[in-house]
């Protein structure tokens, strides 16, 4: 069965650093959803709003965290899937 589970904001920051290839993180904001995936050499962030997607790429986990922190609602829900 699916291993999707809700994670806290603190856990999530660590999760980004150790994100594995078979893991994804979904952030449910009020207005959009952000999907974080990782390939062999970089992170991919898909910002999805009204079924339209915009992609951002980073190699550094710190930059991913900064990017997400700027765009996460205070009351957002975070899931590991």
């Amino acid at each position: 069965m699916y291993s999707e589970k809700e994670v806290s904001r603190d856990t999530f920051l660590n999760l980004i650093r150790v994100l594995d290839l078979d893991e994804g993180i979904r952030i449910d904001n009020k207005e959009n959803k952000m999907f974080v995936n990782k390939s062999v050499n970089r992170y991919c962030i898909d910002v999805s709003k009204n079924n339209k997607d915009e992609f951002f790429y980073f190699t550094d986990a710190r930059k991913v965290i900064d990017f997400l922190n700027e765009r996460m609602d205070p009351a957002c829900k975070i899931y590991s899937y």
């Binding site: 078979d22 995936n37 898909d46």
Partner: protein
């Protein structure tokens, strides 16, 4: 003639709790192109082949090596398997193909089977919807923010996967991508891969190389289909 499709596994497979992606072309070539480009952009191993007395007797030569036309690829790290074919699956084999995939997914303890199907659209918008076989799979679609189809008809292998999945409680999601028929298939394929990555982590991360690979895969698949058409016409009448 026996129409059963057999699976020959050549390497150990461990995708327990993972995903099976259907890339067998039954309604258009987009799903086959999408999965073929996914295989090339992410590290997948060929772990098995699909065969049937009803398949055209043909070898697809690629990079100086012979290949079965229908193959199974696995990425054990991602826990993802892909059923991929260079050839359009004949309609009389759709039921066998769907049953074989569901049995295979069950035997390998996959948590979700993802398939796809085109939907005719008047405009040229890139949009993806989905439909699921179980409440659990439907929740997965909702959580990923993928709109759910309310009314419609899903033909071919994806439709059969949904029907069988719903009565045997196997999680199946069919992604429906709009197509006007005016643009190249590879653009819809790249769009489809991106939607898949919302459900299956790690499957599509690099949109530029994905589009390049999809364009290449479209050419390869269409060439293979054209070259074997005469053979298929002879076999299937």
């Amino acid at each position: 003639m026996n129409s059963k499709i057999t699976v020959r596994e050549l390497k150990p497979i461990n995708i327990e709790g993972g995903y099976l992606i259907d890339g067998l072309p039954s309604v258009g070539l987009t799903s086959a192109i999408a999965t073929q480009s996914m295989i090339h952009t992410t590290q997948f191993d060929m772990v098995g082949v699909l065969d049937s007395e009803r398949f055209p007797p043909v070898s697809i030569i690629h990079d100086e090596s012979p290949n079965f036309p229908a193959r199974i690829f696995v990425n054990n790290d991602l826990k993802v398997a892909v059923f991929s074919s260079f050839l359009m699956i004949e309609q009389s084999l759709h039921r066998d193909a769907a049953k074989m995939m569901l049995d295979w997914a069950k035997n390998h303890k996959c948590s979700l089977l993802v398939s796809s199907s085109p939907v005719k659209s008047e405009n040229d918008n890139y949009s993806v919807m989905g439909i699921a076989s179980t409440a659990e799979a439907k929740k997965k679609l909702k959580d990923a923010g993928i709109p759910i189809m309310g009314q419609g008809t899903i033909p071919g292998i994806p439709g059969l996967l949904l029907n069988e999945g719903s009565i045997s409680h196997i999680n199946v999601i069919v992604l429906l991508f709009s197509t006007s028929g005016k643009r190249p298939d590879f653009k819809s394929s790249a769009q489809l891969c991106m939607a898949m990555s919302k459900l299956v982590p790690g499957t599509a991360c690099d949109i530029t190389s994905l589009q390049q690979e999809a364009e290449k895969a479209e050419h390869e698949i269409k060439e293979a289909d054209k070259e074997t058409k005469l053979l298929k016409d002879t076999m299937y009448g």
